[in-house]
């Protein structure tokens, strides 16, 4: 608001020609949204945090000499120990007054996040688990994109009986709590990556389809659709070339909100014992395994919890930022 003075020039009243001239170029919609997005501090923090976590998930497991799935009978339940930081008195491998690295003679070993009850390196396991979270996130986006948008567009665009039937189906499906659907589905199909993804597929697209439908209903009454119809465009062209670009903002926002939701459901399933099977371990599995030993070995639960929480928080911050960037009502906020 403080740059108002620079933005407005005094226009001479009698110079009517100049008065009607538009000064400056118009900003494209997406560019405008991006500008608003980058002004949002929270969203930028989220973006940076996700970039950092993504980088660690990518290279983390390779930058130390341990492996996520190698069992080691000697190095079990070691607390975290990080070079350099240990000199400051933090992460020096001690638990209270007891330092197993010194007591057991592992003076040359460094497990940055410690090890679990089977001697597996937690650093590697956390980042491998983060990979799974990102994988789930991508799948969630895919589901939303394909099923949600498709269902919503068809239902909204064709209307009438098609819409009636499709909406009754959605109404009944959404009457069942997600928790019940996801839990039972994974139970029937036996826990694993495929069944978790299928379970998310059944429930994940509903809210997206609702948003797309309502947007299509609003948009299809506009003149440009009528114009396209008059020019002989078929339904396919109208749906994908005319309607879709106009509702892309809402779609992006909804997609971003479905990511943390999917990550949450995966970790939730892990926590109630329906997670991935070993040697694979998601963040949820790590937390579920770790919390039992929380009091004696808090590092087992602290690291995966922090990564999961930061990840969820960052996705939500980005989603919030995008919503504000795309929502014209909040413009100039």
């Amino acid at each position: 608001m403080d740059d108002r003075k620079e933005r407005f020039n005094r226009v001479q009243l009698r110079d009517s020609k100049q008065q009607e001239m538009l000064v400056g170029s118009t900003t494209p919609f997406l560019k405008d949204a991006w500008r608003r997005f980058t002004k949002n501090k929270g969203a930028l923090v989220g973006l940076v945090a996700i970039a950092v976590i993504f980088l660690f998930a990518l290279i983390g497991p390779y930058i130390n000499e341990h492996a996520y799935n190698v069992l080691d009978k000697i190095h079990i339940n070691l607390p975290p120990r990080i070079p350099f930081l240990e000199k400051l008195g933090i992460f020096d491998g001690s638990e209270g007054n007891y330092n197993p690295y010194i007591e057991k003679g592992f003076t040359n070993d460094y497990f940055w996040f410690g090890t679990d009850v089977l001697g597996r390196d937690l650093w590697d396991r956390v980042w491998m688990g983060t990979r799974i979270s990102f994988y789930i996130a991508m799948v969630a986006v895919g589901i939303d994109m394909v099923i949600g948008i498709g269902y919503g567009m068809v239902s909204g665009f064709f209307g009438g009986k098609v819409d009636m039937v499709m909406q009754r189906i959605v109404e009944i499906l959404s009457g069942i709590p997600n928790l019940v659907v996801v839990t039972l589905f994974v139970l029937v199909l036996k826990p694993g990556m495929v069944s978790i993804i299928l379970a998310l597929m059944i429930t994940g697209w509903i809210s997206m389809s609702r948003v797309v439908r309502s947007q299509v209903l609003k948009m299809k009454e506009h003149e440009f659709i009528l114009a396209a119809k008059t020019l002989g465009a078929n339904s396919f062209v109208i749906l994908f070339k005319e309607l879709l670009p106009n509702i892309i903002g809402q779609i992006i926002v909804m997609t971003m909100f479905s990511i943390p939701n999917a990550i949450f459901y995966e970790s939730f399933l892990a926590f109630i014992g329906l997670g991935l099977q070993p040697p694979l371990a998601s963040l949820g599995v790590l937390i579920a395994d770790g919390y039992r030993a929380m009091i004696t070995h808090p590092h087992l639960v602290i690291f995966p919890t922090v990564v999961l929480s930061v990840l969820m928080l960052s996705f939500n911050l980005i989603a919030d930022g995008l919503r504000d960037a795309f929502d014209p009502k909040m413009k100039g906020f």
Binding site: I176, P177, L187, F264, F268, N316
Partner: protein, 311 residues
């Protein structure tokens, strides 16, 4: 209005019926048999199947099942958790604790959420608003079980203010931590929603008119702003209920609360299908009931909805 309510009730009942059918269908596909004892011979298994009526055709079994559920509230017997006990008895005995803690969390979450929402929405872009917004985004992001773990570790173990686990003989005192853990999301979601609504309402013409008439600001916000904003807050009660249920599963496990959430997890681990199905049904029924109430309330409170829906 009566027509609208009748229609909603019918749809709810239809949904419940579909859910029961789907649950029963899923029951058939559950891996493993409820009689997991390897010592049983095929003949003994067949005897057991016949005893529990598992050898009849699908639709006949569903018909019997439906009659049992509707007429007697009987969801069969438990195969593993408490052998040969009626599932309904086990579930109902534990339902009270879960509902109580859920309601406590809802009450705490909504009251704090309304408080923060009003502060945040009426004092926009101040430090209080920023604090509430940050707290709210953290609240919707952090899973309730993470919060439960943190609370029990810090307040339960480190500082020993509360007990780490739920104590049956101290139902109120020991349910404080789980209530806080569950209420955080409710609080955050209510704050976020109310803030957006309040900002919109406070910018509307009728509030501007009230302002112009010189009514005191607190009265404008509470009487005219909050009242109208609260109407839409009712609509998030449905999603909040689901979140409380999902949260209860994990939170009850962390604190060892003898509720239906922990019972469901227990049932999943020992393949006690009848227990799983009944709890899934109870959860669905609760959710549908809340949604029904919300829809009817919404129609009663806000006349604009009534006209639009043609009831």
């Amino acid at each position: 209005m009566t027509k609208f309510i009748a229609k909603r009730i019918l749809l709810s009942l239809a949904t419940l019926f579909v859910i029961l059918f789907i649950l029963f269908l899923l029951l058939q596909f559950m891996p493993g048999s409820p009689f997991n004892d390897e010592k049983l011979t095929a003949a003994q298994q067949a005897v057991l199947m016949a005893k529990y009526g598992l050898d009849k055709p699908f639709f006949i079994r569903f018909w019997i099942y439906l009659q049992n559920v509707v007429l007697r509230g009987d969801f069969g017997i438990s195969y593993a958790i408490k052998k040969d006990m009626l599932v309904s008895g086990i579930v109902i005995a534990r339902l009270g604790t879960s509902v109580r803690i859920g309601l406590q969390a809802l009450l705490l979450g909504v009251s704090l959420g309304v408080l923060f929402g009003v502060i945040s929405g009426s004092k926009r872009n101040t430090w209080m608003d920023s604090m509430a917004t940050v707290a709210a985004v953290i609240g919707v992001s952090i899973p309730s079980y993470v919060l439960a773990l943190v609370l029990s570790f810090v307040l339960g173990y480190k500082f020993r203010i509360f007990s780490i686990t739920y104590q049956v003989d101290q139902p109120l005192w020991s349910s404080i931590l789980p209530t806080i853990a569950l209420s955080f999301f409710v609080m955050a979601q209510t704050t976020r929603f109310l803030r957006t609504e309040l900002i919109e309402v406070l910018a509307s013409d009728y509030v501007k008119l009230v302002d112009a008439k010189g009514v005191a600001r607190p009265k404008v916000i509470l009487r005219h702003g909050l009242r109208n904003a609260m109407i839409s807050v009712i609509t998030i009660l449905g999603p909040l209920t689901v979140n409380l249920m999902t949260g209860s599963l994990v939170v009850e496990r962390v604190y060892g609360i003898p509720g239906i959430g922990s019972l469901l997890v227990e049932g999943i681990q020992v393949n006690d299908y009848n227990v799983i199905i009944m709890i899934a049904f109870v959860y669905s029924a609760l959710y549908i009931f809340v949604n029904l109430i919300v829809d009817i309330l919404y129609g009663v409170i806000d006349p604009r909805i009534r006209v639009a829906k043609g009831g």
